[in-house]
């Protein structure tokens, strides 16, 4: 990790993206004091994690589903956590219910599937009703129901005004969930911007234009500095302009338009473009 400076805002889901080994998990481990940064600091509300007296009441973290003793029951695991931070024991039943684990609360964690372990990890993260939540790959091992459950949970946690940092490899999942994106590549920050802006900067945002005079329109668009690609005789793909600009231009020159359809890049496309850059050029700050 180097030169990474981030502030995660409350009330939003911040998506944390990057190739394997980019430093996502390491960043989250540093925030919670498991790893010490060689220089710099990670603070929560201005304090290092290790200085917080009852950290579970302020920061909930799911960093690794397999972080419970296999011989302990789910209920005992959560009860220990509650006692460690002076949280009422009633809260254990609440988070078990929330995570859909009530029926298996008395089973040993070692017999849990990966999906159940993820749910237990989320129950543990929520036990102190914290304002800050860190979820590292929470949907790993979950069935479609579980994936949907996580998505709704994460959205509602942010809607309650909490700060949520979520990492995932699943772009489609991130597209559904994140408001803000932080993209890491090789320990460097590649992007830190609202979701719409990251997508908007992609060169893959394009407008398809169909016109019987496509060639004429092509020349006028080039004159305005837009990038134009000819597809078929009557079809061109325009990037770097808005539908309004193209429509107005066509109107001024009396060119009939048969189609003017913007196509937004998907998160996956925008992400691939961003991280390809990071691999190709190495260090690159911002976007």
């Amino acid at each position: 990790m180097s030169g990474l400076s981030l502030e995660i805002a409350p009330g939003k889901v911040t998506g944390f993206l990057g190739p394997n080994g980019a430093g996502k998990s390491t960043t989250m481990r540093m925030i919670t004091g498991l790893d010490a940064p060689s220089a710099g600091s990670a603070t929560i509300g201005g304090r290092p994690y290790t200085a917080i007296r009852h950290p579970l009441r302020e920061v909930g973290a799911l960093l690794d589903a397999r972080a419970a003793h296999p011989g302990r029951t789910a209920r005992a695991h959560l009860l220990g956590l509650a006692r460690s931070n002076g949280i009422a024991a009633d809260r254990v039943a609440e988070v078990l219910e929330l995570a859909g684990l009530t029926a298996v609360a008395g089973r040993r964690v070692g017999s849990f599937s990966l999906g159940m372990s993820q749910r237990l990890g989320i129950a543990a993260a929520l036990i102190g009703d914290p304002a800050v939540l860190l979820f590292d790959e929470p949907v790993n091992g979950l069935d479609p129901d579980g994936v949907r459950w996580i998505r709704d949970l994460v959205r509602s946690l942010a809607a309650e005004g909490r700060t949520v940092l979520l990492s995932s490899h699943l772009m489609s999942e991130m597209q559904e969930t994140a408001d803000h994106l932080v993209v890491l590549g090789r320990g460097h920050l590649i992007a830190d911007a609202p979701f719409g802006e990251v997508i908007g900067r992609s060169s893959l945002n394009a407008i398809r234009v169909r016109s019987p005079h496509a060639e004429l329109l092509h020349r006028h668009l080039l004159g305005l500095g837009m990038a134009v690609e000819s597809k078929e005789a009557e079809e061109i793909i325009v990037t770097g302009g808005s539908p309004a600009e193209i429509g107005d231009l066509a109107f001024r020159h009396g060119i009939p338009l048969h189609e003017l359809s913007p196509r937004r890049a998907t998160l996956e496309e925008a992400y691939m473009e961003l991280t390809a850059d990071s691999v190709e050029y190495g260090k690159r700050e911002g976007i």
Partner: protein, 247 residues
């Protein structure tokens, strides 16, 4: 600190290894104490002077029984590393010192209490078989019970500290067996004076003094200090490791 203690207490009693290890320690102590008692009685009948207070047989019985106790303390630490639950633990109690002191205090307290019970169990097992040979006073029984408690508490500190340094059950238990059983033998058989003196300051030697209220090579006060020094050294090593190595 209250939270850290409650947390460690809950964790210690919600895994099966704790009651099973303590149960094994009780069985071993009762069994070996009985054998030692029978043997002392038989020797006495053959004219040897083997008279000793029955509570002192616990010191012999624990040469084996202490291993089950060491396992309890070791697993309380290394089980966390093996399962990955150490990360959850450090999320909950991120101050390394507080976490370690909480764990050491709970494990030491529980094993100290176990020492009282094991002393009573060993005495109850050996005394009826020894008859006159094992006659003892209330002071013998109380002194021996407190000594056993102190010895096992010392072992608990030692195993907790060492387990935090080594992070593996196999490594910690091997090191403890070396220290408690192999090294004491080696210091005795070599017949070298200074090595025997070193042997006097091993935890097991201090333990025998405490459990039998002996005055050789030193009394119970110095013995308690020797054990405490071993325990604190291991715990300090554990603290330094926790601070320096990523979890």
């Amino acid at each position: 600190m209250k939270g850290a203690l409650a947390f460690e207490w809950t964790k210690l009693w919600t895994v099966r290894s704790t009651p099973w290890s303590l149960f094994a320690a009780a069985l071993l102590t009762a069994g070996v104490a009985a054998v030692v008692g029978v043997s002392a009685q038989a020797s006495a009948e053959n004219g040897f002077d083997t008279a000793r207070p029955a509570p002192h047989t616990v010191a012999d019985a624990l040469t084996l029984g202490q291993l089950a106790v060491v396992v309890t303390a070791t697993l309380a630490v290394t089980g966390e590393y093996a399962s990955g639950s150490i990360r959850t633990t450090l999320h909950s109690v991120p101050a390394r010192g507080r976490m370690l002191i909480g764990k050491a205090a709970v494990v030491t307290g529980v094993l100290g209490a176990a020492g009282l019970c094991l002393s009573a169990i060993g005495t109850a097992s050996a005394a009826p078989l020894m008859g006159e040979t094992g006659s003892f006073t209330a002071a013998d029984a109380v002194g021996s019970a407190l000594g056993t408690a102190a010895y096992l508490a010392g072992l608990a500190l030692l195993a907790t500290g060492l387990g935090t340094v080594l992070r593996s059950a196999a490594g910690t238990i091997t090191a403890m067996i070396m220290l408690l059983m192999a090294v004491p033998q080696l210091t005795q058989i070599a017949g070298i004076d200074w090595l025997e003196t070193v042997g006097d300051f091993l935890p097991s030697a201090a333990g025998v003094v405490l459990m039998t209220q002996d005055t050789d090579p030193y009394g119970t006060g110095p013995a308690a200090l020797v054990l405490a020094a071993w325990g604190l050294a291991a715990l300090t090593g554990g603290y330094v490791t926790l601070r320096r190595r990523d979890a």
